[in-house]
Symmetry: C2
Subunit: 398 residues, 2 copies
Amino acid sequence: MIKAISNRGQAQPASPMRRLEAPYLKMKEIRSHIYPLNIGQPDIETPPSYMDVYRNFPGPTIKYGPSGGLTEYRKTLSDYYANCGISLTPDEILVTTGGSEAIIFVFAAITDPGDEVIVPEPFYANYNGFANMVGARIVPVTSQAETGYALPPISEVESKISARTRAIMICNPGNPTGYAYTEKEIKDLKTLCLKHDIFLVSDEVYREFVYDGTHHSILSESGFESHGIIVDSLSKRFSLCGARLGQVASHNKAVMDAILKMGQARLCPPTVEQYAAMEVHKLGQDYFDGIRKEYQKRRDTVFDGLMKTEGVFCKKPRGAFYIQAKLPVENTVEFAHWLLTEFEMNNETVLVAPGNGFYATKDIGFDEIRIAYIIESGQLARAMDILREGLSAYPGRR
Amino acid sequence: MIKAISNRGQAQPASPMRRLEAPYLKMKEIRSHIYPLNIGQPDIETPPSYMDVYRNFPGPTIKYGPSGGLTEYRKTLSDYYANCGISLTPDEILVTTGGSEAIIFVFAAITDPGDEVIVPEPFYANYNGFANMVGARIVPVTSQAETGYALPPISEVESKISARTRAIMICNPGNPTGYAYTEKEIKDLKTLCLKHDIFLVSDEVYREFVYDGTHHSILSESGFESHGIIVDSLSKRFSLCGARLGQVASHNKAVMDAILKMGQARLCPPTVEQYAAMEVHKLGQDYFDGIRKEYQKRRDTVFDGLMKTEGVFCKKPRGAFYIQAKLPVENTVEFAHWLLTEFEMNNETVLVAPGNGFYATKDIGFDEIRIAYIIESGQLARAMDILREGLSAYPGRR
């Protein structure tokens, strides 16, 4: 008999974004093209200055760096935040192995096993996985497609607070919703967190991807000296998904001290990557303006394509590179699978992420999908045509 | 008032290896040289074939790889283990961000909060940090300097098993002890683990560093189809500390499935590093023979130096690149600090790691230090002379 693992190990959730990976790999052999709209892997080139550091790295040894990140690089990040209107000293920033590690460290630092973190759903599904790893629990508060997935009424958020609540966590702008929180929503959350003495954790990895209006970081607000924590990543911002660099930032010294000790346990984040990351941070506002323009065009292409599709509902999202949309089908898990494995237009099809995987509440989100617009507009237009045809041909259509 | 963090966050232990970092940085400005014997950062050059991959990486984008590691690279690792006499399919290996992440994943997969893992002490202190992060508890069983830190009598290990015990964990060969477990000890542990239906987790990152006799991996033993888990790292083996690559390996499918889901949550280990790591695995036995010879010479230098020092006790360790030694002082925390900040020979001194940090039992190990022999023999001989003089000049000497 196989030795059993722990309850926690058994409860570890599978990633909904990767659930269709096996049929996808199979269908790739059969279809002439499958448009990958399921994962947030940007196609934008990594800045050449990053690659140059790899190419010229002197060596001769790839050594451990400091546990909190290279001193010079933390200064770079401090300057980066200053440019975003966020004042953080290098000591208030700790470099992590991707945004993923940042979230694990934060959950471990602010929760004890059994404690709760409130998250507006739909949310980035891996929050569940990180929480499970450290024995914490995500408590969802449901936002609505009809409001574009805005923050639910603050009284509804407050109603989720229990004696075990340690934090509210938001993703701003949101994955999978694309929703960018308003200044008022951030202030309302702050008031609520201070009232109940709980943290506000803000995942701001898509900070630069706001197309209409501006981004409101929690740490550009005063009053978060003690209760605000940012988790961040270079993956999307600089097309550095495989580099595994992120960071945690907070003015709360107790949080940063605990996280530094966790950082010491795991020794250090990748070394060469940090040297290279210093270079990409020299790119100015022009770089982000160019990327933002490109993604905005894509968002508009996808949104227009969806609006032309009968029975589809979504509000135009302001940020990130995702659209969460309601489809006229009962079950998008089945639909996405059918679209991938049974439908084709000129032997092409599209791969989308079923929406229910982004909800913690059981049995909701089954009529939603998430589209990541991480391919260029011409391709996206074509992918939207295929989705539209697929929907009209789908036997399970409502 | 500052917002309080969790009990877990407050309990996160500081790394004893990095405890003297602040005075070290200060004294570096004052002393002409400080021999760094405190951390396991090898000075050996990273293989040039690794650096070549960095230099020629085609780009243009640094993408996510598969969560379990690049398929090709897992095949490479399967071949590597086959050469070590360990039969593992690529599916039984998962690539992690350093050995650190491997240990966190294993602890999360096999323990629930409050569960226990028995570890012979002195042990690699960061095990405490990883266990604390996931709410598990390390239960030490004390090994003795007099036996060279061999496995304590198996009845003593067994006496530590409780209803909450989920695993025994060893480091083989050991950090900080240098002890390499014998075949009989591995078999005894296996019998015990099977009897009590608990896992044996073996940290084998120093596998190639055994100077007298051979290494006995738990997975070269039959009977570990279900209860054995290896955690591993390239950091020491290929001087790749800053690359952050390691792996977990087990025949237990439930363990590997749970760990893959954790891997999916954090997306992937560093991408370019894996391509580069494929290259270094092409280095043959010659490479390891050369390195082993170099480290053996260093071990002999340090051991001979210690044997010439009055009042010092240690057995000659067979492996890794550490020696844990008893000194004729009451408190090596104070002695190491004094040596660093107050003693000098021609304006040089040495930095060693106090031994108590490697014990979980309170108030033991205070007469021990750990020496990492990660500088060349000539320098080590000089460092041993300084240590000897320091000991004889030390006011707190017994």
